[in-house]
Amino acid sequence: MQGNDCNRETLDRLLALAKLKVSNEEYDRICRDLNTVAGYLRQVGGLELEGVKPLYHVWEEGLRLRGYGGDRRVDVTELAGVEVEDGYVRVPWRGARR
């Protein structure tokens, strides 16, 4: 996306990818901000990045796999507040306060 080309098609595609529904007012705000913010983020390209390796973890030199691999399991029924009802697990956090 360059300049002011935030059009409905671009934003609709992003909203579909993000699985997001927005109000009309939010749609207009995000469309406007998408231009401004994308232009700002493109400033990164102003640095000389040729030959630079991407950095995904600040201490990449010390990264290691967990010792116990994938064999550790948590039994959901042992977690606080969990009930089992007719073979179904009832999680404690359903239901909003407001």
Partner: protein, 479 residues
């Protein structure tokens, strides 16, 4: 000015000069006075419960079994999981969520005898710099009620500033502890990445964020950091911290400190902020500290680099809120429509904006131009900061501006981003950074920030204690 420091309260508990129940009652009187105006807490425990917990602390002292934080009231940012209270990350999509396990730091606090008495407000999912983006209500700055307390840990900063807690936990993704500390006249320390477990922190941008201690003095943040840090096998990015006992350190000898300032970063900052910053630097220099000017050439791209990475990680992390497992629900349509509806109802505008930007930065055709470029730029920024902090401690203001008025920055995302100009550097590089009060301009707090190399927490604490000797602001709170 009223002053109160947690380590002094502990000393009084030990000598019998102060009773934990009486202290808890005093804190709750302040909460009753301030909270209706400030709105720092999302949820707060009843005094009956806290009184009971304080009685247990009293018994622990009598029995000689007191933990290192026994009887202190600790407020916890509401993106850190607690099984006794709701944990919402200030988002309606998590309203009513009671986590099935406690965060590692919460378990450590409980073992240390701390009394967790409430969950503090934040920008939704920690996305913001003012605490106005909370899904529930904005928090106000106790020093000036028409101003913001900074963000995203603004609830924790505000509650400390009015004396509603002895210590507090925040999380710092791009300055979310240091900015509130700067705006509320409190102290925040972002530790070296990996040295405090993130297990139980609701994630926003994993590669950048750290649970971080907040308090009203440098010795108090050291006290809290001593308890919460440590290797945790439940956090894949956890590393061993260095093993100095931080809260027993003495102020640095000024002649042993080497400080770097980066003048180009101060261009455009508020003149009052710059003036108070130089006041601290010049005092240190007069005491014998070597102060030199330095350059960080890639720092000009630090903010867009930070935001590109943070948005991208946010888009990925928040994909888990699908309207099925967590409280917010959709109503009709197929699965995709149901999910979009639930997310549309549950997330606020700022969260939606950041998810969209993150999806954009990661999407086909744009990934190399945005996300990959930012990951490369991060290496340049990190390497420059690691190289400079091997030579000196970097000094900067905590923020380029004074605390804005409510609503002042909310409409303009770029204005909001600029508040983080001095703080994102430490997150991109993974290094520790301390923000503490430097002075006041017309009754508004102004902060100074120091950044050290990996595992440089002892040097920061010692320098912070020295600076407190100059400012005299340890323990200060709003009246």
């Amino acid at each position: 000015m009223i002053r109160e420091e947690a380590w002094r309260i502990l000393e009084e508990y030990k000598t019998g000069g102060l009773d934990p129940v009486d202290h808890a009652a005093k804190v709750y009187e302040r909460i009753a006075r301030w909270e209706p105006q400030v709105n720092a807490f999302i949820e707060i425990d009843s005094f009956d419960l806290v009184e009971w917990m304080a009685e247990q602390a009293r018994h622990a002292y009598s029995a000689g079994e007191a933990g290192p934080l026994e009887g202190l009231l600790v407020a916890v940012k509401d993106n850190i999981m607690t099984t006794r209270n709701v944990t919402t990350a200030a988002s309606r999509i998590l309203d009513g969520f009671i986590p099935p396990y406690d965060a590692t730091v919460v378990k450590k606090l409980a073992r240390a005898g701390a009394l967790i008495h409430g969950k503090t407000n934040l920008d939704e999912f920690a996305m913001g710099s003012t605490t106005e983006n909370s899904g529930f209500f904005p928090t106000r700055n106790p020093w000036s009620l028409d101003r913001v307390p900074g963000g995203s840990s603004g609830g924790s900063g505000a509650v400390l500033a009015y004396g509603g807690a002895d210590l507090a936990l925040g999380s710092d993704t791009g300055g979310s502890v240091r900015l509130p500390a700067t705006y509320t006249g409190t102290v925040g320390l972002k530790p070296t990445y990996g040295t405090v477990s993130r297990y139980g922190l609701i994630p926003y941008a994993n590669s950048l964020e750290q649970i971080s201690p907040m308090a009203r003095s440098v010795r108090d943040v050291a006290l809290l950091l001593d308890v919460i840090r440590g290797y945790d096998p439940l956090d894949a990015t956890s590393i061993e911290p260095e093993d100095t006992v931080l809260h027993r350190l003495e102020p640095a000898d000024p002649g042993e400190v080497r400080l770097c300032i980066v003048p180009e970063l101060l261009e455009g900052a508020d003149k009052h902020v710059v003036s108070i910053f130089y006041n601290v630097v010049e005092w240190l220099e007069a005491q014998g500290t070597l102060v030199e000017e330095a350059r960080l050439p890639s720092a000009r791209a630090a903010l867009p680099t930070y935001y590109t990475l943070a948005f991208s990680e946010a888009a990925s992390n928040l994909a888990r809120y699908d309207g099925i497992l967590y409280p917010a629900k959709g109503e009709s349509g197929n699965w995709e429509e149901y999910m979009a509806e639930a997310r549309g109802r549950g997330f606020g505008l700022e969260v939606k904006r950041r998810i969209v930007m993150g999806v954009y930065a990661l999407s086909e055709g744009y990934r190399d131009e945005y996300y990959l470029a930012a990951a490369k730029a991060r290496r340049l920024v990190r390497d420059e900061i690691l190289a400079l902090t091997r030579r000196c401690i970097i000094a900067l203001p905590g923020s380029p501006v004074l605390p804005p008025r409510l609503g002042e920055a909310l409409d303009d995302p770029l204005k909001l981003f600029l508040m983080d100009a001095y703080t994102v550097l430490a997150n991109l590089a993974g290094v520790p950074a301390l923000a503490q009060p430097a002075g006041f301009h017309e009754e508004l707090p102004v902060g100074v920030q120091f950044m050290a190399g990996k595992h440089g927490e002892p040097a920061l604490i010692r320098l912070g204690l020295l600076v407190e000797e100059h400012t005299g602001l340890a323990g200060v709170m709003a009246e």
